[in-house]
């Protein structure tokens, strides 16, 4: 019931007014937004008087930050009471007809005259102001900007999900309403902080959506594209606001906004004349072709919508420190339960309590880690948009399917994964998927397919990106490898080894460089990023059938599976993911050809063998050649073997950062072991560099 809505909004507004401090800009902003909602609600019920009053107040709140705010709030509070009475009156009347339900004119709310005057001033000042305002001016303004950023970003993300879900079908009334609300919010907040471009764009988009909502036009492909474009442009605008905040500069103007606004406005006005109809016909036809995909998407969407739960926004720093503290508790817990003194105590009660404590700590740790987990959906949404964009630019028809969008991953990893996915997708669209003629000739459906899926496998997150394109050409890869000197002639490579060449810096098999790929930058970045997350990447490919990338990532960056190794009296940690195997080499397996460097030969493969004791200057290492341990490690660039005294255990460890003061590139972090001691985590990517350093200094001496 709209009356109830309005009363609720009024209640909200009144309590805001009661609590409001005049100097506090976020309070004022809350009032501003609340007034916006009220205006909206009343407008939809055709209560022009109330909505107009609300609008005037909004302008006044925005315009006048300090001097007359007290007076204004006073007047507003008074008006609220009156409005409340009128709505109650309307409710009593119980007439559904908006005309009769609207409050009688003579009882219109009190609007102080200065509010009216203020509103006009604002409008004129606003138009001429432009976006030259410097964000650095006042901290208060910066805070408002930051609020704008986070609110607008939320709205944009939400819009994007909605739009992409509906990209082939018609937008239903609910989605239109949701989009409308989102753009309205953006407009409101942008208006408050005085950003003209986002306000203008949101306004145009809002009128477009308004037209659709009224039924003046149908939500067809053209409109959808406009909406998508508008949302994307808004994204860049918001991003530039963020940059401006961070750099304390002024928000730059984006000249494409005006053009987009013009086109949107044109679309709104064009709808009146029907001659445009035929031009949109093909777009509709293609979307109708997509029938098969629609039920599936609808199914997945309804699944998604049931998962919407109440959420709470929490500062990431707090969550991080919570996770850290819980990690500590887990360690202390294991110190207590493993305490030798306590073991001697024969008490069933104690034993029971300890068990209980152990269980609760484990559960707590699990929950704490889940706090940071977010579904991969957001990442996939971005990918979907990119496929859409690229396929259009490359003139290819590509169907994008995503599976396992609800699979969760560490929030901190999402950003790190974005770049690799961009490169993989670009390659798939540009090189992987053939053009229509080629596909037809090969007897494939004209429409290409890119499938992205995510799932958990043991304690890892797996993301697969598969296309049904032409696949990797092993011969071509090898030929390029020779050309670029990556492999020596006569060297024979397995298919998997040939695929690995793709990750070499500057490697590309395409003869034509396009705007999107072919320059050979990219795939090396992919592998670097994946490695930095302590993950792995693999390729599978079948000629003519497609290529699949498989990314295996740890579930979280906070915890790794560590392998504890000992050397001398010291214990270090190697990330288990980077360990290929650990062996006890027999004597013949270790060769020392040049005197200083050693080689380990395992099943026909050779690895450089480094002594951990030498790398880390460890005293009292055992160094017993009869009884040595070697751990074969795979780093981003090399594989090598590390000679250690012993492989002690495998355990999950919570990673702690090391201070810069330690200047220790060779360690990526530290962890507290179950006995409370610190284990340093070896950064395997640096081992080779450091070993090479001392190799060079060796040569200098020799």
């Amino acid at each position: 019931m709209a009356n109830d809505d309005a009363r609720q909004l009024l209640d909200e507004l009144s309590s805001l007014l009661l609590l409001c401090k005049v100097q506090n800009s976020s309070d004022l902003r809350a009032i501003f937004v609340s007034l916006g909602k009220l205006e909206q609600a009343c407008k939809s019920e055709h209560w022009e008087i109330v909505s107009d009053a609300a609008n005037l107040y909004r302008d006044a709140v925005r315009a006048d930050a300090s001097e007359r705010m007290g007076e204004l709030i006073e007047g507003l509070a008074q008006s609220c009471e009156e409005l409340d009475g009128q709505i109650a009156w309307a409710q009593q009347a119980h007439k559904p007809d908006p005309e009769t339900a609207s409050p009688p004119r003579e009882k219109s709310p009190v609007v102080p005259s200065f509010v009216m005057g203020g509103a006009i001033n604002v409008n004129t000042a606003h138009d001429s102001a432009g976006e030259v305002r410097s964000v650095s001016r006042a901290t208060e303004e910066v805070e408002n900007m930051i609020d704008f950023y986070s609110e607008a970003q939320d709205a944009i993300d939400q819009n994007e999900r909605l739009l992409l879900d509906h990209q082939d079908g018609e937008l239903d009334a609910n989605s239109i309403a949701a989009l409308f609300r989102a753009f309205h919010t953006i407009k409101g907040v942008a208006g408050f902080v005085g950003l003209t471009q986002p306000t203008k764009l949101a306004h145009s988009t809002e009128s477009l959506l308004g037209g659709v909502r009224r039924g003046d036009m149908s939500a067809d492909q053209v409109i959808l594209d406009l909406l998508l474009e508008s949302n994307e442009r808004m994204q860049t605008l918001v991003a530039s606001v963020r940059l401006a905040i961070e750099a304390s500069t002024s928000v730059p103007l984006d000249e494409r906004v005006d053009d987009l606004c013009r086109r949107i406005d044109a679309a709104v006005s064009r709808e009146a004349s029907p001659e445009d109809q035929p031009s949109r016909q093909p777009a509709i036809a293609t979307s109708a072709d997509d029938d098969a995909a629609v039920p599936q998407r609808l199914a997945s969407r309804s699944q998604g919508s049931t998962q919407i739960r109440d959420t709470l926004k929490v500062d990431v720093g707090r969550v991080d420190s919570l996770v850290e503290m819980v990690g500590e508790m887990v360690i202390v817990e294991s110190m207590i339960t493993g305490d030798p003194d306590l073991r001697h105590v024969r008490s069933p009660k104690l034993a029971n309590n300890l068990r209980q404590m152990a269980k609760i700590t484990r559960d707590l740790q699990k929950i704490a880690l889940q706090l940071r987990m977010v579904p991969v959906r957001g990442l996939f949404t971005r990918t979907a948009r990119m496929v859409r964009e690229l396929s259009r630019q490359c003139n290819k028809q590509i169907r994008f399917t995503a599976e396992g969008e609800a699979t969760e991953m560490d929030r901190n990893m999402v950003e790190l994964l974005a770049d690799p996915l961009v490169h993989i997708i670009r390659n798939a669209v540009d090189h992987g998927i053939e053009d229509a003629a080629e596909r037809e000739a090969a007897g494939k459906p004209v429409e290409g397919s890119i499938r992205i899926s995510a799932y958990h496998e043991s304690s890892n997150l797996v993301i697969e990106i598969a296309d049904d394109g032409r696949g990797l050409d092993v011969d071509k890869l090898i030929a390029r490898g020779y050309e670029r000197g990556l492999i020596s002639t006569g060297q024979s490579l397995s298919d998997t080894e040939a695929y690995e060449l793709v990750f070499a810096p500057g490697f590309s098999t395409t003869d034509t460089v396009t705007a999107f790929s072919g320059r050979g930058v990219g795939m090396d970045v992919v592998r670097k990023n994946i490695k930095s997350m302590r993950g792995r990447i693999g390729i599978q490919s079948k000629p003519g059938q497609g290529t699949a990338f498989r990314l295996v990532l740890p579930l979280t960056l906070a915890i790794i599976d560590g392998t504890l190794i000992s050397c001398g009296r010291e214990t270090y940690i190697l990330p288990t993911l980077s360990i290929v195997e650990s062996i006890r080499p027999k004597q013949g397996m270790v060769r020392a050809p040049g005197g200083h460097s050693q080689i380990l030969q395992v099943r026909g493969k050779t690895y450089p063998l480094y002594k951990l004791s030498a790398l880390l200057e460890i005293p009292e290492a055992r160094e017993d050649p009869q009884n040595m341990h070697a751990v074969i490690v795979e780093s981003a660039s090399h594989s090598f073997a590390l000679q250690v005294d012993d492989v002690v255990a495998q355990q999950q460890v919570v990673i702690k950062g090391l201070e810069k003061q330690l200047q220790s590139k060779i360690f990526s972090g530290a962890a507290i072991l179950s006995d409370g001691q610190i284990g340093l985590i070896i950064n395997v990517d640096e081992v080779v560099a450091i070993a090479n350093d001392y190799g060079h200094s060796m040569q200098g001496v020799a």
Binding site: A614, K656, Q663, A670
Partner: protein, 190 residues
């Protein structure tokens, strides 16, 4: 926190010790003072995990209730002779705000004495003509005529990462160590 603001300053020379409370400690027979606001706690010298290939003055890291914090040897930092730990040796845990983050770091000193208040009349600038300011001394405290306390700039002491390698460690970095050791080990192997 007035000291937090001071931490943002990079000009050490312009920084002078302020009147206030200081934690006094001993190092090679002299008395020094840290501003109490930058002292988080004092802990006994517990097991320090060695960190290979780092500055000479860094003894390693300790587990301070779950936080891994670096510990430096203040004697080495001040280019004084290293001595074995005694019962009096303690770690003063310092906290300071560097340009972008909060740093917690331990400093090993010979002995802690007391916390004392130094009024404006007892604090003076380091005498001109000395190089005391290079030694992180930003003031002289004289609560009594016979007593002299060197007041230290914590931020400058801990900022050895940004200055590059610590001066004390210069010329004694790790590569030579390896070249010495490696052939020796190799002959052992053969």
């Amino acid at each position: 926190m007035p000291h937090a603001e001071q931490g943002a300053q990079s000009e050490r020379a312009s920084k002078l010790a302020q009147p206030g409370k200081y934690l006094l400690f001993q190092l090679a027979g002299e008395t020094y003072g840290f501003p109490i606001l930058q002292v988080r706690e004092i802990i006994s010298l517990e097991s320090i995990t060695r960190v290979p290939r780092t500055s000479q003055c860094v003894l390693g890291v300790i587990n301070l209730r779950g936080k891994v914090i670096p510990v430096m040897d203040l004697r080495t930092r001040f280019e004084l002779e290293r001595i074995p730990a005694t019962d009096e040796t303690v770690i003063i845990v310092l906290q300071c705000e560097l340009s972008d983050r909060l740093l917690t770091i331990g400093a090993v000193v010979d002995d802690v004495r007391e916390v004392t208040f130094l009024g404006a009349e007892h604090v003076s600038a380091p005498p001109a003509g000395t190089h005391l300011e290079d030694e992180f001394v930003v003031g002289i405290g004289t609560p009594q005529e016979s007593q002299i306390i060197f007041l230290l700039d914590v931020d400058a002491i801990v900022r050895f990462d940004e200055e590059g390698v610590l001066r004390a460690a210069a010329g004694e970095t790790s590569p030579p160590n390896i070249t010495e050791r490696e052939p020796h080990e190799d002959t052992n192997r053969r």
